[in-house]
Symmetry: C2
């Protein structure tokens, strides 16, 4: 959007909020001034006027913008705006909302409203929303679909949200390689509305097998008497429905795709992947990794109830607490030593912090390299050698600096030597863990993005304390 | 790519490595067995044969795949593959490489090779690579361009890489609203090759101002005698070149765009944004944030020299070290107290860890909300109220648990009470910081993603120690 349009968005939001506030104010006044049977009449009149005003504003918006406005409102106002818009284009709005807000609004809507909202949806969108919709509502809506559409929905609901099958759409025009371009053009003109987000049409042979694609541009620019197979592109990037979506996303990025056919095991086209879906997937996928790294389990509604947020964060906080308890017990082992050399208490967090930090850097890099398929059997050892060399270098540099710091404040050469040596050891082990944990998770077919960071930090923390205090007990106390 | 194609990629990589290894082996044998003038002759013969074999493999690959193969090789092998391919399609390969690897290969190439590589590039791609190319090489290549292309390059190099102007491409076909569709079709057939990644053509009026867009489908499906202005879409999402790229990316995601015109301040189309560029931008942008969060300054070459990696990570490690030193000095203030109650040393990391964790969760959420434009003037206070409420709840729950832990291990009610109270205070302040730091950075027009996490963790750490040890000194010692 141009900056004008950006300001427009903000202005719309302000206008919506104003209309809502005015509605509430008038309603409250009406409530205070009127008692008895009059109350509801006047109140309703004024209220309706405000709602009509609000409806007029909202009607001008793209469903994606209405969804954005809804995301930005408080839970009560969300309900109000949603109820106003649901009957006419609720389905389109639901598709654009974040998961948590969509589930919230569906949960709070009555059946008639929801039924109206979802009548406009095609089978693809219905399948996408299926998990949030009340089952009997979904069934009665499904019953209205054609046989073909019902079969499609059953099929696509089998695939997980992060597989190609879960992201593909049904909308597709398949053409025969033996048609002439003129025949294709005539056929398309008959259909009138064509699938969105398509830059090419899949081409099949007599047996229904995908043999090529016909770009729009070839269709427009070639001689209409030519056959499709004379002008089509034979090199096709296609996907099978059970491939992971991350792999498809990588191919879309690598080959700059806009759409691509999905084929079944016999090579017949059964659906399409489009770049808009892939882009949403990439955004969600990466941003979920970032949230996980910060210790949240999923997308969180910024303005949702406190309890939901608390639940979202507590799993990871309890893991972090367990880690802290473990570290605390490790320190507990050395309380005798600390009582003799209190300086140890002040110095020990440094070793643990830097250890955790470098371990985390290595983990992040390895997780990212695995995600981008930059790390594989042939170069793994090279990476390991490099990271271990770097950790030795880091150990010398940072161990030296920390040793100087200790010397400066405590004038104790032994203490300085011990902390420098501890840093060296901890950084080396932190790098080893930072490599081993994600690589092991990957080889066990687990998601290395999930958990590697926590595990590495957890172990490095306790390890840092143990090495430093252990060395000190051994060398200082005797 | 289908799983077949995925395996294909891996097989190609293996074949390339095998060819490289065989080449090296034969070369070494030749070196050992031959002395004097024969040596180089035999060596060269064998070497050339291997290179021809390698070249044959590489030629079959898409430039993006060649780039992928290069990323996966060791620095020396990268050079070899690059030199083989540079003359024919070096430019296309450079465009697909990550920044650090591209810079590396350019730095190590001789001028003739580079000049050959960049002769195939159009002005858009040349502008993209401009900052890595040796200046005089860039100039001599620029001198070969048309006047029009030179002007374009000067213009687009003025814009930063993360503005719309920096991402836009020149390639564009603009049509007149008064032409008939037949005229447009004739004109396009004359041009033969059309801009890639386009789903619509920008339409201008007599004065050259953008007035609409003509989707390909409308061009194909409408009656060719109609005028463009009768069938064009009048609602256009367009951008100005100085808008931030993040805003454009948001619009592409929200409205499912494939391409969009960029217009100057007078409303004339000057270029186009396409979804492939936007997708690359989104990927880089988010992944840079993730790397920053883990304390790396930018994209790092997994297999590059150790020194480069060290430099990439040391800025943040030194910040983290300063933080740790600060925390250490805070603890130093209370050494007297710790000497009396050694249990404090074992318990204090718990307070700091959980404080840092919750502060980090709040920061991540706020940074993400700001990036997605979900947080604004009208709902900021609501968010603040919610996070502060959550922090109080967290304080009661986690403070209680930690208190029990302390009681269990040290059988000291006062100590348990002090640590519970410290947790409550620290979590409250951590949430406040987690809100205040990114919101302040944003209002100062700084990037909240950069630095907010480090700052919050740094302050919360020392704060946690200070609160716990301070309360203990005050309540336990007296």
């Amino acid at each position: 959007m141009s900056s004008k349009q950006q300001h427009h968005s903000q202005r719309i939001l302000a206008a919506v909020k104003q209309a809502l506030d005015k509605g509430r104010l008038v309603e409250n006044l009406a409530r205070q001034q009127n008692e008895g049977p009059h109350r509801t009449v006047v109140e309703n009149l004024v209220h309706r006027q405000q709602l009509a005003h609000l409806d007029k504003i909202l009607k001008q918006l793209h469903p994606a913008d209405t969804a954005w406005v809804i995301e930005n409102l408080s839970p009560e106002d969300r309900q109000l705006v949603w109820r106003l818009q649901a009957a006419q284009r609720g389905g389109d709005i639901l598709l654009e909302l974040s998961d948590s807000v969509a589930a919230q609004l569906i949960g709070a809507s009555d059946e008639q409203l929801l039924m109206n909202a979802i009548t406009q949806l095609d089978p693809d969108d219905l399948a996408y929303l299926a998990e949030w919709l009340p089952p009997h509502l979904l069934q009665s809506r499904q019953a209205e679909l054609t046989h073909d559409e019902q079969a499609w929905m059953r099929q696509s609901m089998q695939f997980s949200h992060d597989s190609v099958g879960g992201l593909m759409v049904k909308e597709m025009v398949v053409i025969d390689e033996q048609s002439t371009l003129q025949q294709v053009l005539d056929e398309l003109r008959l259909r009138q509305n064509l699938p969105t987000q398509s830059d090419k049409l899949p081409v099949i042979n007599r047996r229904g097998i995908l043999v090529g694609v016909l770009p729009w541009q070839a269709l427009v620019l070639s001689d209409p008497t030519q056959q499709v197979r004379e002008v089509m592109a034979r090199e096709v990037v296609s996907f099978s429905p059970d491939e992971p979506a991350t792999q498809a996303a990588r191919a879309f990025e690598r080959y700059n795709l806009i759409s691509a056919p999905v084929v079944n095991s016999r090579g017949r086209p059964i659906g399409r992947l489009t770049v808009d879906t892939i882009m949403d997937f990439v955004r969600d996928d990466i941003s979920e990794d970032a949230l996980n790294a910060a210790g949240m389990t999923g997308e969180e509604d910024l303005f949702g109830p406190v309890w939901n947020s608390a639940r979202n964060r507590w799993l990871w906080l309890s893991l972090s607490l367990l880690t802290a308890f473990a570290a605390s017990r490790v320190i507990g082992l050395f309380e005798q030593t600390i009582a003799q050399f209190v300086a140890l208490a002040a110095l020990m967090p440094i070793v643990a912090a830097i250890g955790g930090n470098t371990g985390n850097q290595t983990t992040t890099l390895v997780v990212r390299g695995l995600a981008l398929a930059h790390i594989n059997d042939t170069n793994r050892n090279q990476l390991i050698r490099k990271e271990m060399t770097l950790s030795l270098l880091n150990g010398v540099v940072w161990g030296g600096i920390v040793g100087l710091f200790a010397l400066l404040f405590y004038h104790n050469w032994a203490l300085a030597g011990i902390i420098a040596l501890s840093m060296q050891l901890t950084l080396f082990l932190a790098a080893a863990l930072g490599l081993a944990v994600p690589l092991t998770l990957q080889s066990l077919d687990r998601d290395p993005a999930l958990g590697a960071g926590v595990l590495v930090t957890a172990i490095t923390d306790s390890l840092g304390f143990f090495i430093f205090l252990g060395l000190a007990s051994w060398l200082l106390v005797n």
